[in-house]
């Protein structure tokens, strides 16, 4: 619980290793290890490395995963984004924003009874592709959508 990100990173386990362990199911959700892996994933930059950190490299695009959001956001400080997975046994969902300083915005674990449908609001520094990553039956899937961020108000 008390793992800080710095500890997670210097702990010897590279981002990729944690990711691989997560992917293989070697880390049980809720453990300190899982926590550290997740924290490491928040520190990565760009989509490819973040996918690796999540153990989700090679996630396949799936029509069963959808991103619910407007195509254009009036303001980047608050962009409403929802992720829904229709894939059976979905137990994890993550939302990534390509052009943010760190791509991973949030991840969700569904335990007993949790439905794979979440809505949240994220900051986007600029127009960007947004990725939803889903884990179902141990396999990773994804969906992608571009969200344009505009300048609202009087521009001053």
């Amino acid at each position: 619980m008390s793992f800080s990100r710095r500890e997670a990173l210097k702990g010897g386990a590279g981002v990729g290793l944690y990711g691989a362990m997560l992917a293989l199911g070697m880390i049980r959700p809720g453990t300190a290890q899982a926590q550290a892996a997740m924290q490491a994933a928040f520190q990565t930059k760009g989509i490819p490395d973040t996918l690796k950190a999540l153990g989700a490299a090679g996630a396949a695009e799936s029509a069963d995963v959808s991103i619910v959001s407007p195509d254009i956001a009036e303001n980047g400080a608050v962009v409403p984004v929802g992720v829904t997975s229709k894939l059976p046994n979905t137990d994890m969902v993550a939302l990534l924003v390509d052009k943010n300083p760190n791509a991973l915005a949030g991840a969700y674990q569904f335990l007993d009874g949790g439905v794979a449908e979440v809505n949240m609001r994220v900051k986007m520094g600029q127009s960007s592709d947004v990725f939803a990553i889903v884990r179902a039956d141990g396999k990773y899937y994804m969906a992608k959508k571009e969200i344009k961020v505009t300048l609202g108000g009087c521009g001053g």
Binding site: I72, K148, T150, L151, G152, C154, G155, G156
Partner: protein, 245 residues
């Protein structure tokens, strides 16, 4: 009944205001005082009825219709100087005063023409005869909405905020519609001398062509420098500008 009454009242008050204001703010007057007095004389019958209505307004049961001086006083009392935004910004020029009165109404033809002539006379064309600068800089100026606000850090370079009101290049989706679209501005008009001069004047002081329109006087009010106006000109008129693709 009441509405009609107060409308008559404000119409009647309009004309004395014009000449009064021209006296109180000589540095910013665009029209000559003499010219305005001429206009004022043409409305003398209204002056008389104004005095009469003013008497009625003094009765206790009638709400007092504020005079221009009272509004000016009220504004000064209600604002504070901050940064570059001093209280003199609340002293209306003749143009501002007249245009305030005629918002949403037709400005009388003679008055409108006088305002337009005065505005055109204020335009200073580039000394070196070169009208077009760098369209890439022009795009930055058109995007930037900062400058001249009390919240701006000292030394902030003002933008033109053109996209606030105009569509310009196709790439920018967040554009306003207060002014007409400027997409393909140069492609449609070419870059002949009259077009260059007209466009320059329009940016410099748009009241030259349509007195009391909403566009800031980017040159005459010192919002943009001559070099900045050249860059905005290039954005509109340079054949290589994205505006003309």
């Amino acid at each position: 009944m009441k509405a009609r009454f107060s409308k008559a009242l404000s119409m009647a008050r309009r004309n004395p205001n014009v000449s009064r204001l021209s006296d109180s703010a000589p540095s910013v007057v665009l029209l000559s005082v003499a010219r305005l007095r001429t206009i004022g004389r043409a409305f003398r019958p209204l002056l008389v009825s104004s005095a009469f209505l003013g008497l009625l307004g003094a009765c206790a049961w009638m709400p007092h219709e504020p005079t221009k001086e009272e509004i000016a006083q009220l504004m000064k009392q209600s604002f504070a100087e901050r940064g570059g935004a001093k209280l003199d910004r609340l002293e209306q020029s003749a143009l501002q005063s007249i245009c305030s009165d005629y918002t949403g109404k037709e400005v009388p033809k003679a008055l409108k023409e006088q305002l337009e002539q005065a505005a055109l006379a204020s335009v200073r064309y580039p000394a070196d005869g070169k009208y077009l600068g760098d369209f890439k800089n022009g795009e930055r100026i058109a995007q930037s909405g900062v400058g001249l606000q009390f919240s701006d850090a000292p030394g902030t370079v003002a933008g033109g905020n053109c996209y606030a009101c105009h569509q310009i290049s196709k790439q920018e989706l967040a554009y306003g519609n207060i002014g007409p679209t400027l997409y393909n501005y140069g492609k449609l008009r070419g870059d002949s001398e009259p077009i260059l001069k007209y466009t320059w004047a329009r940016i410099y002081n748009a009241h030259a062509f349509n007195a009391c329109n909403s566009m800031p006087r980017f040159g005459a009010a010192g919002i943009l420098t001559e070099a900045q106006i050249k860059d905005v000109m290039a954005l509109l008129l340079d054949p290589k500008s994205p505006v003309n693709q």
